[in-house]
C-alpha cells in the first residue's frame, strides 16, 4: 500500500468516515470532519502508524495532503 492509501485508512478510522479518497491537493476545507481538533488526532494516529514523529513546526505548516506526504516520506527509513 502506498502512503496515500494508508492515509485514507487512517482518515476513515479517526474521522469516522464512510470512504476517503485523498489526493495531494486535498485540504481540511474539503473534508467537513477535519477540524483543528481532529487534526491533532490525525497527527497522533499518523505518527503511531508510521512510527515517526513530527515537529511542531511541521504540524502547523502543511497546506495540503501532498505536503503531509512529502513530510512523511522524509522520515521513513
Amino acid at each position: 500500500m502506498n502512503i496515500i492509501q494508508q492515509l485514507n485508512e487512517i482518515f476513515i478510522e479517526v474521522l469516522d468516515l464512510e470512504t476517503s479518497s485523498l489526493t495531494n491537493e486535498t485540504t481540511a476545507n474539503n473534508i467537513e470532519e477535519w477540524d483543528s481538533l481532529s487534526h491533532i488526532m490525525l497527527i497522533v494516529a499518523i505518527e503511531k502508524h508510521f512510527k515517526i514523529k513530527f515537529t511542531s513546526r511541521e504540524i502547523q505548516q502543511w497546506k495540503n495532503v501532498g505536503e503531509m506526504i512529502t513530510c512523511i516520506e522524509t522520515k521513513l527509513p
Binding site: E13, S36, I40, M41, A45, S56, I59, Q60
Partner: protein, 573 residues
C-alpha cells in the same frame, strides 16, 4: 485501558437510560478533548454527564463574577483544572519575593474560588493537582531552595491536600499520581502542546478522564464495598490441598514476597472498611489452616467476614456471600488468578467487577494500583469496624436457623435502639450513609456533610438517627430519617434510609412508631411519604403501603391521629 478514540465513539451512543449529572469544566489550557473524554468515560460508568465547558482561560471571570454563565448553569460537580505549565509561566514572571510565596498565593486564590462557589451553589468541586515539571534551573539543589519552582509546586500540592481535609466539598483528582505512573513522556506531548495549548497527551486523556469519573461515580454512591478473594495462587503461591501448609509460597519461600506484599495491601483495604470474603474451591478445614497456623500469613481469619471454601461452583458461592452481606453485586470485586473462574463469574454475575489479574503474581499490585477500584468520597469511624459487624451478622444468620418461630428469634436478640438528632459526632456517618445507601432508600437524596450541618440547624427540619444494638454486637448508626415541616399540620419524609444489615427485625415499625410519637408531640396530623424509584431501590417500592399509608396521587399519606403503633421487640434508649 480503553483509548481516546473509543471514548470518542461512545459520544454517539445512547445515554438516555443513564443518570444525568451536570458538570462544569473550567481550565486554563485547552479542555475540549478532556471534556469529550470525560463524557465518554461517563458512558462506561452508565452516567450521562452533561458537560458545560468554560471558554478557554476564563476561570477567574467565571468563578469571581456571581452573575456568570457558570453560576447560571448550576452544576452538581465543578472541575477546575489549572495546569503546571501556567503555574510555571507565572512563576517565571514573579519577583524573588513573590516566588517564595507562590504556593500560598495560589492557595489563597483557590480558597477564594471555593468561597465564591459555596456562597451560591451546592456543588462538589474536583480540583486537579499539579504534575511535576522539573525545570532543572537549580538541578537537584532545587530541593534545598524554598523559592525554586519545584519546591513551590510540591508545597502547593501538599497545601491543596491540607485544604481538602478542611473543605467538605473539595476533592482532589490526583493528576500527579497519574503522571508518576504512566511517565511524563507519555503524559505530555510538547509538539501538540505548542500547536494547541493542550497539556494532556492523547494517551493521557483516558487515564485522567477515568480518575475524574471515579470521583463522580463515588459521589453518586457507586463505591466498592467488598473484596472477594480466591486462595490458591491468588493469596499464596501453590495449592494448599496438594502442597500442604509447609510448601505454599508466602513469606520467604519462592516468590512468597509477592503474596506477602499483596496480602498487606488487602489488609490495609480491610482496615479502611472494605469487607473481605473468601471464595475458594477447597475443603473448608484445609483452606483455613494457613490462616490459623502459617506464621507468614498477613491475613488472619479475623480479617475475613465471610469464608466459603467448598467444591460448589463459584457463582453459587458468591451469591451466598451476597445474601449474607446484603449488598449489591455492583459493589463487589472478585479476584482470582484463574481466567476460567473469572469468566464464569463474569458471565453469570455481570455486575461484579472482575479485574483481569496479570499472569505473574509479582505484577498483581502494580496492576491493581492502576485500576483504582476503591474510590470513595468519605471515611467514617464505622468503616474500621465493618468487618466485625458482618462477622456478627453471619453468627445471627446461624442462630436464626435454630429458631422455628421468627418472633422468638427476634425476642432472643435483646435489641436496643438509641434515637437522636444530628450531632457533630454523627454528621460524617450520616452524610456517608446518604451517599452510599442505594437499596433501602425511599428518595435517594445525597447530602454532603455541610448540607447535613445546615439541616441540623434548620428549624423546618426534624432529623432523626437510629442505632441498633443486640446481644451479638452493635450495628451502629443504621437508619436516618429527615422530616420536613410542610405546613402546620403536614410533615414530609424527605429522607428515610436504612442499612440492609438490619432488615427483617421490625426496625421499620420501630422507626415509624418513633416518627409518629414525635409528630404527635409537635401537633402534626399528617405524615407524607414519597417513593422515588431508582434502578436499585425496588425493595422499598411497597414500603409505605406495608406500613399502612394511603396513596394519593404520587404521595403516601398517614393519618397520625388514627395510627396504632405496631409492637416490636426493639427497646428505645
Amino acid at each position: 485501558m480503553i483509548n481516546f478514540s473509543q471514548l470518542k465513539k461512545n459520544l454517539k451512543k445512547d445515554f438516555s437510560s443513564f443518570k444525568k449529572i451536570k458538570i462544569a469544566l473550567l481550565g486554563d489550557s485547552a479542555t475540549q478533548f478532556l471534556a469529550q473524554a470525560i463524557r465518554g468515560a461517563g458512558y462506561e460508568n452508565s452516567l450521562d454527564l452533561e458537560i458545560w465547558e468554560a471558554d478557554f482561560n476564563q476561570i477567574d471571570r467565571q468563578l469571581l463574577d456571581p452573575t456568570s454563565d457558570f453560576f447560571a448553569f448550576k452544576p452538581e460537580i465543578t472541575i477546575i483544572f489549572q495546569s503546571s505549565h501556567k503555574l510555571l509561566g507565572y512563576y517565571y514572571q514573579c519577583s524573588k519575593n513573590e516566588q517564595i510565596n507562590l504556593a500560598s498565593t495560589k492557595i489563597e486564590q483557590l480558597e477564594t474560588y471555593i468561597a465564591n462557589i459555596n456562597q451560591q451553589l451546592s456543588t462538589k468541586i474536583i480540583y486537579y493537582n499539579y504534575t511535576e515539571i522539573d525545570d532543572t534551573i537549580y538541578g537537584n539543589f532545587a530541593n534545598n531552595i524554598n523559592d525554586s519552582s519545584l519546591f513551590q509546586l510540591r508545597s502547593l500540592n501538599l497545601a491543596i491536600m491540607q485544604l481538602a481535609t478542611e473543605t467538605q466539598n473539595l476533592f482532589i483528582c490526583d493528576l500527579s499520581s497519574i503522571q508518576n505512573r504512566i511517565g511524563r513522556t507519555n503524559f505530555f506531548e510538547p509538539s501538540i502542546y505548542i500547536s494547541t495549548e493542550m497539556v494532556l497527551s492523547i494517551p493521557a486523556l483516558p487515564e485522567v478522564a477515568a480518575r475524574t469519573v471515579d470521583i463522580i461515580a463515588a459521589s453518586q454512591g457507586r463505591m466498592k464495598k467488598c473484596l472477594i478473594l480466591d486462595l490458591d495462587n491468588t493469596l499464596w503461591g501453590g495449592v494448599i490441598g496438594d502442597d500442604g501448609i509447609a510448601n505454599i509460597e508466602i513469606g520467604n519461600l519462592g516468590i512468597g514476597k509477592a503474596f506477602t506484599e499483596f496480602q498487606r495491601w488487602i489488609k490495609a483495604l480491610k482496615n479502611r472498611g472494605i469487607i473481605l470474603a473468601i471464595c475458594s474451591k477447597n475443603d473448608d478445614n484445609i483452606a483455613k489452616e494457613p490462616f490459623e497456623k502459617h506464621p507468614d500469613m498477613v491475613l488472619k481469619l479475623d480479617d475475613i467476614s465471610v469464608f466459603i471454601a467448598n467444591w460448589e461452583n463459584k457463582v453459587q458461592n458468591i451469591q451466598s456471600i451476597q445474601s449474607i452481606l446484603n449488598i449489591g453485586f455492583d459493589s463487589m470485586v472478585f479476584l482470582d488468578d484463574n481466567p476460567f473462574e473469572r469468566n464464569i463469574v463474569k458471565e453469570h454475575l455481570p455486575e461484579i467487577c472482575v479485574p483481569e489479574l496479570p499472569e505473574d503474581p509479582a505484577e498483581y499490585l502494580e496492576f491493581l494500583y492502576s485500576q483504582n477500584l476503591f474510590e470513595t468520597i468519605s471515611i467514617s469511624q464505622e468503616d474500621n469496624e465493618r468487618t466485625k459487624l458482618y462477622q456478627t451478622e453471619a453468627k445471627r444468620v446461624s442462630l436464626k436457623q435454630s429458631f422455628v418461630d421468627e418472633d422468638d428469634f427476634l425476642k432472643s436478640l435483646n435489641m436496643l435502639s438509641f434515637v437522636e438528632g444530628f450531632t457533630t459526632f454523627n454528621t460524617p456517618r450520616v452524610a456517608q450513609l446518604t451517599q452510599r445507601s442505594n437499596q433501602f432508600n425511599l428518595r435517594t437524596i445525597r447530602y454532603s456533610e455541610a448540607e447535613i450541618e445546615k439541616i441540623a440547624h434548620d428549624e423546618n427540619f426534624l432529623p432523626l438517627t437510629f442505632t441498633l444494638k443486640d446481644r451479638f454486637g452493635n450495628n451502629g448508626l443504621i437508619c436516618i430519617v429527615i422530616l420536613q415541616q410542610q405546613s402546620t399540620n403536614r410533615l414530609f419524609i424527605d429522607t428515610w434510609l436504612m442499612s440492609c444489615r438490619v432488615l427483617k427485625r421490625g426496625m421499620e415499625n420501630f422507626v415509624l412508631n418513633t416518627i409518629v410519637e414525635y409528630a404527635k408531640k409537635l401537633g402534626f396530623t399528617e405524615l407524607i411519604g414519597e417513593y422515588i424509584p431508582t434502578q436499585k431501590n425496588g425493595m422499598v417500592q411497597h414500603h409505605y403501603l406495608n406500613l399502612g399509608f394511603q396513596k394519593t396521587n404520587d404521595l403516601w399519606i398517614l393519618d397520625i391521629e388514627k395510627y396504632q403503633p405496631t409492637p416490636t421487640h426493639i427497646q428505645k434508649k
